[in-house]
Symmetry: C2
């Protein structure tokens, strides 16, 4: 259930950039530069940690989605919004790494490993603060509120995940709620912000665009998380960059395990806390989960969310290129490493 | 260098409430209610942790200062601003407790102790998010920017403190800079926000009020931190609620130690990391610091900041009651447990 341990890999990134054209590429580059400026502009000590965090990169999936939602008429302020969303995402990753004592993320040493718990916690707090500063600079209170609500949801989701750890009674509905809070809320916010920072169209459909693009973001966010959790069980480790079954070792209860437990009595009776303590044991339980068919069904569930995401787009009269790009992203979140 | 481990005890609170009158008492009660609402309104899991954090109380010194700066004409939105400042303060405390593995704060079990590192980190993040949401609701971008800048400063100060831990070469200037970032920035913000959420006076002096009240806040913030660091050395433990010398055990280099090292060669050569590992050793080094006269000189330094704070008030044409109340706060931060 770690949002990006397995990477945000979107195979279709190049196709997307081709559809998005030079403006999308330029906006992404502007966001990247701004992220670096923010990292470097705050004292040598903090700068070093923040730069290493930012530099570790990732695919900038949330900024990408935001710019695609803003479309051709993306305003300059969309860059600030994209930076803000990415900063919040990074803040949560830095804090997650502290909690998980993770030495490596995306092949790079984490702030936690390089600088310790204290520096990493502060760096996360700093990235949070800067996120709000970026949005304030746009002069749009509804944008700040959107990010603030999303941040609150992230914290609630994180807390829910830790509270449900090792539990034998997490229902599929509760799992989905956790995905909505922990992952989808920020995609939802990215899409809403994209709509907010797009020139209002002459027919005045902006509130509808904010609503439906938000729904699109929420759905792909859930699909993204489900797929992430499937990949944790299925691997392959050489693509995801981590052992199979890290969620099992953490006690994080994800959809594949929930569904598998409904079908396999032995899995249902298994106490993860005592029975799964080594990567080898985790891999063996992963195999057992796969045998129940739970991975295919989880993937099916994710595809259902992708379909709903596309249906939300159908409510809007979007330019064809924009719709195609957004659909490509929606497909992409469930086709990672496929 | 922990901002509130030794409490925000202000002996003059009752006098202040008397000067501030029923309106101040009412605003403080409104802020308290709002803090509880925020704590309780977000799911049973998070609510429980947040409520325990909020309930641990403290003297609400930052909201108090904010309301005093807003004065008689404090607007309703001053309550939201006060709540926001207190939420940021609490968020940093919750994160500090995780880093310090602190089981108790203000006589109450910490979120860290009650619910673990993960829940405490999330609770801190949640309180941060809610802080910004409170300010956004006021519809004043400059207010959000003020808080965002202060939060950034806090994170920078925290990072600086962790980076300087155990160092033998922290200068008094560097120590003061750390106080400005880690502590004074939020007092500065509280005072600026108070000025912002006060009805503009007919003579249009508001920008001056924001500036000078901010300066007032920054000065009392530095004085507050110096005194906190003096109390860590002087005790008495039964008043501060913690052993003497916890900063020494943490490797936190504070003004009393810096000044004492200039005067006592043995202290200068002491490696805290190896020589101070038990509360008894810490108490003994505290005695040695006291013998150099460094505590009196640190207190003198704090009094200098209090004088500067009062001088900043002198730049403004404040109602007599308001000035008297603010001066009482300024005196109060260096008279704790005197």
């Amino acid at each position: 259930m770690s949002v990006t341990r397995s990477g945000d890999g979107l195979a279709q990134l190049e196709s997307l950039l081709a559809i998005g054209g030079p403006k999308l590429t330029r906006r992404l580059a502007q966001a990247e530069r701004r992220l670096c400026e923010i990292a470097e502009s705050h004292g040598p000590g903090l700068g070093r940690h923040a730069v290493s965090t930012l530099g570790a990169g990732g695919k900038r999936l949330r900024p990408l989605v935001l710019f695609l939602c803003a479309g051709e008429s993306a305003m300059r302020d969309a860059v600030g919004a994209a930076v803000a969303v990415e900063l919040v995402h990074m803040a949560t990753l830095v804090h997650d790494d502290v909690l998980d004592r993770a030495p490596i993320r995306r092949g790079q040493t984490t702030v936690f490993k390089a600088a310790g718990r204290g520096a990493a916690t502060s760096t996360g707090d700093y990235l949070f603060s800067r996120a709000f500063a970026e949005l304030v600079a746009t002069g749009r209170p509804e944008a700040v509120r959107t990010l603030s609500d999303a941040s609150t949801a992230l914290a609630r989701g994180e807390l829910m995940q830790r509270g449900d750890a090792w539990s034998a009674s997490v229902s599929p509905d509760r799992y989905i709620l956790r995905c909505e809070l922990k992952t989808a809320a920020l995609f939802d916010a990215a899409c809403r912000l994209g709509a907010l920072f797009s020139e209002p169209s002459s027919n005045g459909t902006m509130p509808a665009a904010v609503h439906h693009l938000g729904a699109f973001g929420a759905r792909i966010g859930v699909a993204f998380q489900i797929l992430d959790d499937v990949l944790d069980v299925s691997g392959p480790a050489e693509r995801t960059g981590k052992h199979r079954g890290t969620d099992l070792l953490d006690g994080t209860i994800t959809l594949p395990l929930i569904l598998a437990r409904e079908r396999d009595g032995d899995l249902r009776d298994l106490d993860l806390r005592t029975a799964v303590t080594t990567p080898e044991q985790a891999a063996s339980v992963c195999d057992r989960i796969a045998l129940t068919g739970a991975l295919a069904d989880s993937r099916e569930e994710a595809l259902g969310y992708v379909a709903e995401a596309k249906a939300a787009l159908g409510e809007l009269d979007l330019p064809e290129r924009q719709r195609r790009a957004l659909e490509l992203v929606a497909d992409g979140v469930v086709e990672r490493y496929a």
